[in-house]
Point group: C2
Chain length 405, copies 2
């Protein structure tokens, strides 16, 4: 299979350092994966992504969204271009989600049957159908190193019975995803990936790999049942889905903890769609190997910047959704949110974070960044995103270093 996972030091807390070898290269974990929705991490050049972060190593793996690329430019176009790696000129590992989450959150007029889900495009209202088989077909055309099984994302809050029914559908779809993947994995558009000098060259099979997704909503018994069933089926790695959808952060942590108890320790474990800097650090220390979130880049485009907290500092300036604030409440922050549009920054000649060595903090002042944001200059989104991504990658780098000690 197209994946090799080498677990190194494991802490008392369950957190572990590991190396994930994939066809396009190797990834040090725990890792945060920037989201490149439409084959671009919004407002950031690929060249920048390759060297972002204090250690200069850049983002070792990024994510792209199957739903978006399926609708535009279309998976067959991407396949003919040689896959999303070649399409966007990204030479390192990538992961695609299954499309399920966006179908359930962005599209209109969804109709779910056992077979799959019919939906209308949020772009033009056109009608489409995703089944597990079709999600696999699309993801094989996109050609990411890691694909995700097609799952149903239950609405929140949902009753135990509704959650259990949805979970059962997810399990049936996981089995169908795996069956289609096994039969078609050699159709990946980049069979001719050149050998690299790192350990990915040692992989038995330089094709894609497939992760299963554990569901079960906010019910610990269902989470356990789902984890057991998905692990029985056997995947290259395991994701925990359906979290960070509005529940209190304590519940998120609890569901992750219950699920991690079941997941095999020799496979990568991925929590989808989280979170704030404090959260990704916390979950990594619990034993989560991979995480992704639009937060660093989306917050950047709204003028919200992260910086390291000073001792005893508590105040946050972020004006996010209720859901995000709920998720952030109650914890002592290791990161402070700055709202760069505030007038108090108009003549602040300091960098965002005096302790940060990212190219934005090395060169630009808060005053200039405020001016760019207030003036709606496109450079605002770029510089803010670079800083926030560097902050996230540095957070994970710090966690990895402490886990290795």
């Amino acid at each position: 299979m197209g994946l090799k996972f080498e677990v190194g030091a494991t802490a008392q807390s369950g957190g572990r350092r590991a190396a994930l070898h994939l066809p396009h290269g190797s990834v040090e974990t725990p890792v945060f994966m920037p989201v490149g929705t439409a084959a671009t991490v919004k407002a950031v050049q690929q060249e920048t992504l390759e060297r972002i972060g204090t250690d200069g190593a850049g983002a070792e793996i990024i994510l792209a969204n199957t739903y978006h690329l399926y609708l535009r430019p279309g998976h067959e176009l991407v396949r003919r271009a040689g896959g999303v790696h070649r399409f966007m000129s990204w030479r390192r590992p990538m992961l695609t989600d299954s499309g399920g989450f966006q179908v359930f959150s962005l599209s209109k007029l969804r109709k779910v049957t056992d077979d799959g889900v019919e939906f209308r495009s949020h772009l033009d209202g056109s009608k489409h159908f995703f089944s597990p088989e079709h999600s696999m077909e699309v993801q094989i055309a996109l050609g990411a190193d890691v694909m995700m099984a097609f799952d149903e994302c239950v609405e929140t809050p949902a009753t135990w019975q509704r959650t259990r029914d949805s979970m059962a559908l997810t399990h049936a779809w996981a089995a169908r995803s795996k069956a289609y993947f096994e039969a078609h994995r050699h159709e990946v558009p980049w069979t001719a990936v050149p050998n690299t000098s790192d350990k990915s060259a040692l992989l038995d099979d330089r094709t894609q790999c497939l992760f299963g997704i554990v569901q079960g909503g906010m019910y610990a018994d269902l989470r356990r049942e789902s984890a057991e069933r998905i692990v029985e089926m056997g995947f290259n790695g395991y994701a925990i889905g359906g979290l960070a959808v509005g529940e209190p952060r304590e519940i998120t942590r609890e569901m992750i903890a219950r699920t991690l108890e079941i997941l095999p320790k020799d496979k990568p474990r991925y929590v989808m769609g989280v979170g704030y800097p404090d959260e990704i650090e916390q979950y990594a220390r619990m034993g989560v190997d991979m995480m992704d979130c639009v937060l660093p880049t989306r917050a950047a485009r709204h003028g919200l910047l992260f910086r390291r907290a000073l001792p005893g500092e508590r105040q946050d300036e972020g004006e996010l959704t209720d859901q995000e604030n709920t998720a952030a409440s109650g914890a002592t922050p290791s990161a402070i949110r700055m709202n760069i549009k505030r007038v108090e920054y108009a003549e602040d000649q300091r960098p965002i974070d005096p302790a940060c060595v990212c190219p934005v903090c090395q060169r630009y002042t808060r005053a200039y960044l405020r001016h760019l944001f207030v003036s709606k200059e496109p450079l605002a989104a770029t510089l803010n995103s670079i800083h926030n991504l560097a902050f996230y990658l540095d957070t994970m780098q710090r966690v990895r270093s402490s886990l290795a000690e």
Copy 2:
């Protein structure tokens, strides 16, 4: 004075190579100056500007707009930050316009008197007044290496008499601009600029310098009269204003030629607000030393990309304003405009320009750039702008090389 101009080889056509030494560094001319309207060349990082172009030398001088910076963030704020160089972290030479052109093209409810012009902000409708003295005060606060005298830009078309009256006002304002500048030049916010290793360190006076502006509309006799009067007053350099405002390109060329005959050969000569790649090449070969234009970056944001023409190629795809098309008509193009949103590029795996070595052409396909543009991704503006700016700087590099032979 804060300027030293060394003229090298001069061709039969009048074109000449020269070096312009300014307090923040030296500039090889003929030069194209990217426009950084609000202290940012839209969508492009300063780091990128410093190394753009085939020779890796980057933009040696950029322009910022006094009108925009006066309104937001305000010239006093910029002064307190140490000038626009420090505010935006640009260490190389800069030029500010006088604010006149934008007052006449962007603001509302203008009232011109001999004293100056009252106008309302295009941002919030607030009332402001620019006189020659106030323009100088603002430009000194911004602290660019090169400032421009405050001039009136006559509407177009205008009668000979109207143009002559406006020109007389411009001359009176030029004298007042110079008088104020002479009395206040030492108020520049960066008197403590560190010495650099290049020839700018040899300047007698490391403060700003001031260029006069020749007006006269589309009347050759008025252009000659204006040039004579402005030269009599004595400035560090001479600009030709009021062109490329809708007139046929042949008239633009004619007005430039008539004016160049009068301007002293030992001072830099600057044509404001031009133009297409063909134009900047043509004017440089006539003896123009400096040019600026929003075209490469504005066109980029509209998906219009420039590439070198193949032999005999004539077709242009650009959909610009009538005025721009008029300006471009009739000449054999050395540059082709590509409209990247066209469906024919959807699966075009070539770079924008196979002969270009800019980082965009070295890495990304037309198919990917079309996808970014059609998807309204912010990276589209960035990559398109980098390519177009590289194209403009390479055009000037080519002209400089051929003038040196």
